[in-house]
Symmetry: C2
Subunit: 387 residues, 2 copies
């Protein structure tokens, strides 16, 4: 059970190599639930960083950081598709960390992903490589969510400020004083003004906070997902089984369901209020007219199969390649892709009423109350066999 | 010539009383060219502040500040009409000054209006009253302009950062690093996220800068305009003559023209990109169908009479009450108002090609090259009599 005991992981044994990075990237894409942006650009930046002599990426358990350490969650805010055209230069996070140190008058001791999803699970590794800071094996969401306050730190009433927003031109905006809801609004509009996307360092924490306030073990889980899929691919084994095997080894993600398989026949997508918003429609491979519709706002927020609701946020919905089971980010969804739809459970803190009031299905325009994915799929064996 | 020699002014003799404040307010409204927001709320706040025992507002010449003094321009950014619904609490500027002091590690020695127009000419007086800081008799625009970089400080290549944005909830955003054009974009989106309007402290200056980089004497000019109109009103004299008398005593504003008189028959106004944008149409009092059309983006940007262009930004266009000659802000324009349209010249620095590329008529959608108001009105005696 990785997420109840993140004290042990092979990631802690030695600095990461590029294979580890690629494995983590594949896992982060699944956990991103469609969001968090593609990992490819950051993978290239990490490859380059690792080729430099003294760059090393070390992952440590959140339990192994001292109580008075200054620890900062990092990641990107903005519409995912913007990354396809507007590339980071790799220094955004570095400038953000330096500015946070200046603001707090203290050196940063470690970083962690604000969310494990997509590029945001990976980009703290670039900071680790460039600043020789350890990355904690944990994150603030256990997946990706559309808004900054949809974090465990906010649920546990930590202040998100000061927050430092930076871009590839070296522009820097500090949100110095704001409640966490306002922080999200101010960050979002700044991300739009910075071209649709910017890097964010916020919710500074102490080492003592980290032991209670994070979703632990998520980098290890991402690496496990990626490694399982890689090995299954090499061996010609079932990629879906490999994915589910990594998920069911955890407490949080073990209720995992293959909801649908088919071909994407429609993608409707618009950029609005700094988000990528839309729906995707999938037709089954069979002749009986089965369809699935999935709604997204940066991340997938609800999935229907033949008009029956089968999963909603905060549970993870991912659209994966039908063969490899690698997740397809919202910005890469295209007509004709042959895909599977997979849903799995999420950390119980996000299923509390307090959390659902912030990030449940009603926050995304649905009329439905949240029901756990395992309740919505009682007739499906959670490893995929109909009962 | 007030603006060539701002060493002497009766405003420097003793702390301001509320009569001075009201005079300055009336002058600021004229110089605001429709923008800068109504002064009424700030007048009330100043009245209250002056009634408190130890509050005093002192105005000093920019020549009398020491070279190493830290001096900061202050004012509001946002669509003018928002003030009608969203009231300031009077502490926004105080928080902004305190934060600027913390950022620069130095006490602020004096404030000045970032623009003399409307509320922005007045609000630094509130900071003066509350923090016992002197206000410099000068500003950054000599009028009001729609965007933050349309300032003499930007034209003379001062950096606008750090800039501190605050609102009535105590939220605080610092734009720490950005060129001046980006600073405006980031400030504008933050003002929108703060509800359409926020207070800004930016372009921190040294005392030595102030002597070369400001439009001098504009608080005194505003007071002169207000006093002239007040006295003319009491005596039943021509308010237009009283206004023009104050303007022609200056070097910058002495080319002043009454372009039109009539009744407002149409106001088209929308809020877009954080600005109040639109046009106003005025029909002459006579029977020959004369009309004037005036375009605005927070401030009036161009005025036509019978389809002939008669004035454009950066020259000042003001719509004034036909009887009192008091300026009517864009947010207060209404069908049926009996008004005069007045245009006058502006400081020559804003008529340079470098300035026109930033703030000339083409920046507001006009096809016309800038021509000075005195060139566009050669057939009109500049005190109002047709030749």
């Amino acid at each position: 059970m990785i997420t109840t005991n993140a004290r042990e992981s092979r990631l802690y044994q030695s600095p990461l190599d590029f294979q580890d990075v690629q494995d983590i990237a594949i896992g982060c894409s699944f956990l991103g639930a469609g969001g968090g942006s593609i990992t490819y650009v950051t993978e290239l930046q990490l490859q380059q960083a690792l080729e430099e002599d003294d760059s090393r990426i070390t992952i440590v358990s959140p339990h192994d950081i001292s109580d008075d350490a200054l620890v900062v969650p990092c990641g990107w805010i903005g519409a995912p598709g913007v990354l396809l055209e507007k590339y980071p230069d790799g220094n955004e996070g570095i400038i953000g960390i330096k500015k946070m140190e200046a603001l707090l008058g203290q050196k940063v001791d470690a970083v962690l992903p604000m969310e494990i999803g997509g590029q945001n699970g990976l980009s703290p590794l670039l900071i680790s490589a460039k600043l020789n800071l350890p990355v904690l094996d944990c994150d603030g969401m256990g997946r990706a969510f559309p808004k900054g306050f949809m974090q465990v730190f906010n649920l546990l009433e930590r202040s998100g400020t000061p927050a430092v927003l930076t871009n590839e031109h070296g522009h820097c905006v500090i949100i110095d004083d704001a409640d966490n809801i306002t922080l999200e609004r101010l960050s979002r509009s700044t991300s739009v003004s910075m071209g649709g996307r910017c890097h964010k360092v916020s919710y500074p924490l102490w080492g003592s906070d980290v032991k209670e306030m994070v979703i632990p073990g998520t980098l290890t889980l991402a690496a496990d997902i990626g490694r399982n899929l890689r090995i299954a691919g090499c061996r010609g084994q079932s990629s879906q089984e490999a994915l589910f095997s990594a998920l069911r080894a955890t407490k949080d993600y073990r209720y995992a369901y293959p909801l649908f398989e088919g071909k994407i026949v429609d993608v409707s997508r618009r950029y609005q209020y700094g988000f990528s918003i839309g729906t995707v429609k999938i037709e089954g491979f069979g002749v009986n007219g089965d369809t699935s519709v999935i709604q997204f706002q940066n991340e997938f927020t609800a999935a229907w199969v033949n008009d029956e609701l089968r999963a909603t946020i905060p549970d993870i919905i991912s659209i994966v390649d039908a063969e490899t089971c690698e997740a397809i980010h919202v910005e890469n969804l295209r007509y004709g892709q042959r895909v599977g739809v997979i849903a799995c459970s999420t950390n119980s803190i996000f299923r509390s009423q307090k959390a659902l009031d912030l990030l449940g299905p009603r926050q995304f325009g649905l009329q439905d109350e949240y029901r756990p994915v395992e309740a919505l799929n009682q007739t499906t064996n959670h490893f995929g066999d109909a009962e």
